[in-house]
């Protein structure tokens, strides 16, 4: 019995270390808030449609390029709040279906996956979470010094000075 127990420890420890580096920590017992079924893919594979809220989302953070072959987003890009707003406007190509903009705080929080942490995102839908830059701007302002953000490491809301940098995920209302 003693030998068996020792073996168990030896084999479990490396597994635990490996789990800590997994892209996503999900509790199988909890109910998913953003199940795959909630989203539908679009003709443009870099966009998903959220059937619950009626919003279209970019699957890659703003400034990253989507690799449709490998389903990954490449690059790293962060923006100040004002830069993010301007960048969204600059993407406006006159297509009324996809007038990309920053999501408000309620919209941004609606894609947090509460079953998971690190990140609190459904990684089948939203690609390439970079845990070094988990903060995402919302458009919602508290005052001139504070803008609401979501930290997708675990889905919490927080405030951030608009002059600092954070990631951006754009949203569109659709037709």
């Amino acid at each position: 019995m003693k030998n068996t127990f020792l073996l168990f420890i030896i084999f479990v420890l490396p597994g635990s270390l490996a789990a800590a580096t997994n892209p996503n920590l999900c509790q199988s017992a909890l109910i998913s808030t953003t199940p795959d079924e909630r989203f539908t893919e679009q003709v443009d594979p870099s966009i998903v449609y959220d059937r619950r809220t009626g919003l279209f989302w970019q699957r890659c953070p703003l400034g990253l390029s989507y690799d449709a072959v490998n389903n990954v987003c490449s690059g790293t890009m962060q923006y100040s709040y004002t830069e993010a707003l301007n960048q969204a406007l600059a993407l406006d190509n006159g297509d009324p279906q996809f007038a990309w903009r920053l999501p408000n705080i309620k919209e941004l929080a609606s894609i947090a996956e509460r079953k998971c942490a690190k990140p609190a995102l459904n990684l089948n839908i939203f690609y390439n979470f970079d845990e070094r830059i988990p903060l995402f701007w919302s458009s919602t302002v508290k005052d001139s010094q504070h803008v609401y953000i979501i930290n997708f490491e675990n889905g919490t809301t927080d405030l951030r000075n608009p002059d600092l940098n954070a990631s951006v995920r754009l949203v569109a209302d659709g037709p």
Partner: protein
């Protein structure tokens, strides 16, 4: 039959005398060897016998020693004197036998005449048999007149019960009287959040002469499915009255009495639909009867088992059938019109949905009268929200239950987080807390008096608050939907009435429990802070994990409590 509720004394131990009279010794002792000279009336006893039969109580009169001349002794019935009956049966209640129904009274005064040399006479009283389970009963006899010869004037005859106690059994039945072994948790799809009213019948196999007392017990489920939880899945009442649910709720181990002469008591059982898909599967409710006094149970009838099927629909399947664009819950206004520099319109609201609330009265009918309003319906999401109330002071000495009922929706009440369903709690159920919610805490007392979120919701459901059941804790997103990000105050409810328009009393420092466990630590549940304080900007409207009690440790008194506000899908999920 009159019941004597205390022990009764006799002058001589019945057992001693019964031993003399009933002795099977080879040589019967001469009374003169045992007693000093005189006349003795002795105690006696007999088995009662069955219905339609009779038996006899033989009271002996002893004359010690035998005389040369006739001796006449008069006797008659006496009133049973509780203080004179013996402590020979200290653990037994002796009832007073009733003349005519229990025994046939000897008429008035009788005499016995001892012929010269006779030492023993017998006075017989006819006992009427029956099939009732009852206590042993006493008949009193006394010698008449006064004489120095009377050494023992009073005696008791015991009619010994020879009938077994009744056997109790329990069944769960529909209102129409059919035995139920399984049912759906709520109504059919589209009529969810219903309570299914059933009856629990506890019956005796025969009429008893005594009150039969049994205690129900919600037994642990030995089957493979889940265990139905008292209060969140079902509730049992002596009489269902939602306005008074504390008074008549039957807890496990409450003693139920079936009165003498009756064979059935009926209780209201309510099976509660939790109204949400949680993958809980079926649950079993096992109601076991424990015999307490003057009743027995057997293995076949002592348990009622019903299986409650979860008939909720997986929301994932609803997404699949929902036509795109036909959304039941969109995202409403944030309250903030974003404008940075010259850039406008970044705060687009889906459906252009500005805040839009409607008061509902206690029955759920729309009203514009704030005094009547108990709930508020969010016209964008369809969600109905509880309105928290100010504390109502009730005069000192008032019934604590009335006090609790008056303050059921008090906004200062705090709760431990408790969710017994595995698929909602992520494996840690939290702390159940005390049974009765809504009792104001003593100021300065460290003693926790709070109940749990689960019990709170169960009570509000049973109340059918605003005409609705299916009250539950909201999700984080649902709480966010009623948060107005433009309000920079101790609260940020989009609809001020949700906290009774009373900012000063509002415990804005506390968070509100969500129904969500934290993914990175299932011993925590999410709390939403509506507070937005400029003093601590980093915590404004942030979501925090709060530690709840460890799974299964009811001794964990140090448990985190927070506010709670309930939400309802409004019967239109």
């Amino acid at each position: 039959m009159v019941s004597l509720k205390y022990s009764i004394k006799v002058l001589f131990p019945v057992l001693l005398l019964a031993g003399v009279v009933g002795c099977s010794c080879s040589k019967r002792p001469d009374p003169s060897e045992l007693f000093e000279p005189g006349i003795y009336l002795l105690d006696t006893a007999t088995a009662e016998g069955q219905s339609g039969k009779t038996s006899v109580l033989n009271f002996k009169i002893l004359l010690v020693p035998a005389r040369d001349a006739e001796v006449t002794v008069s006797y008659t019935h006496d009133t049973v004197n509780p203080e004179l009956i013996s402590v020979v049966y200290p653990d037994e209640t002796i009832d007073i036998a009733a003349a005519s129904s229990d025994y046939i009274q000897v008429s008035e005064v009788h005499e016995v005449v001892f012929a010269p040399g006779e030492t023993e006479k017998t006075v017989s009283v006819t006992v009427t048999g029956d099939d009732l389970y009852e206590h042993n009963e006493a008949v009193a006899m006394k010698l008449l007149g006064s004489s120095n010869e009377y050494k023992r004037k009073n005696a008791y005859g015991l009619i010994l019960n020879d009938d077994p106690p009744p056997i109790a059994s329990v069944n769960v039945k529909t209102a129409a009287g059919e035995v139920v072994e399984s049912l759906n948790e709520g109504g059919d799809l589209g009529q969810d959040n219903k309570q299914v009213p059933l009856k629990v019948e506890i019956t005796l196999d025969k009429v008893s002469g005594l009150d039969a007392k049994v205690a129900p017990q919600y037994e642990e489920n030995p089957y493979l499915n889940n265990e139905a939880t008292y209060r969140s899945d079902f509730a049992l009442y002596s009489q269902f009255d939602a306005s008074n649910i504390y008074l008549n709720r039957l807890k496990s181990d409450d003693v139920i009495t079936i009165p003498a002469g009756e064979t059935k008591v009926v209780y209201d059982l309510v099976v509660i639909d939790d109204g949400s898909f949680d993958g809980e599967g079926s649950e079993s409710l096992i109601l076991k009867l424990n015999p307490r006094t003057d009743v027995s149970v057997n293995s076949t009838g002592s348990k009622a088992v019903i299986e409650i099927f979860d008939n909720e629909i997986d929301p994932a399947s609803i997404y699949n059938v929902l036509l795109d664009g036909q959304l039941n819950k969109g995202i409403v206004d944030t309250g903030v019109n974003t404008k940075v520099g010259t850039i406008n319109g970044q705060d687009a609201d889906v459906f252009g949905a500005a805040f839009n609330f409607q008061y509902l009265d206690a029955q759920g009918v729309a009203t514009n009268d704030q005094d009547l309003a108990k709930c508020v319906k969010d016209m964008n999401t369809g969600l109905v929200w509880e309105i928290k109330r100010a504390f109502v002071n009730i005069e000192e000495g008032a019934d604590p239950v009335a006090h609790a009922l008056a303050n059921r929706h008090w906004f200062g009440q705090r709760f431990t987080w408790y969710e017994p369903e595995f698929h909602l709690n992520g494996g840690r159920s939290g702390t159940p807390g005390q049974e009765t919610c809504f009792l104001k805490e003593d100021s300065g007392s460290s003693e926790t008096k709070s109940c749990s979120t689960s019990y709170y919701a169960a009570d509000v459901n049973l109340e059918q608050f605003c005409g609705l059941t299916g009250w539950r804790l909201p999700s984080i997103e649902e709480m966010r939907s009623v948060s107005n990000y433009a309000i920079d105050d101790v609260h940020s409810f989009a609809f001020a009435a949700m906290q009774n328009n009373n900012v000063n009393e509002y415990p804005g420092e506390d968070g509100f429990w969500s129904n969500e466990s934290a993914a990175n630590d299932t011993s925590s549940a999410w709390v939403v802070f509506f507070k937005d304080s400029s003093a601590t900007p980093t915590t404004a409207r942030s979501l925090y994990e709060s530690i709840r009690g460890k799974f299964g440790t009811e001794t964990s008194f140090f448990t985190v409590r927070a506010n709670g506000i309930l939400v309802n899908d409004g019967g239109n999920p």
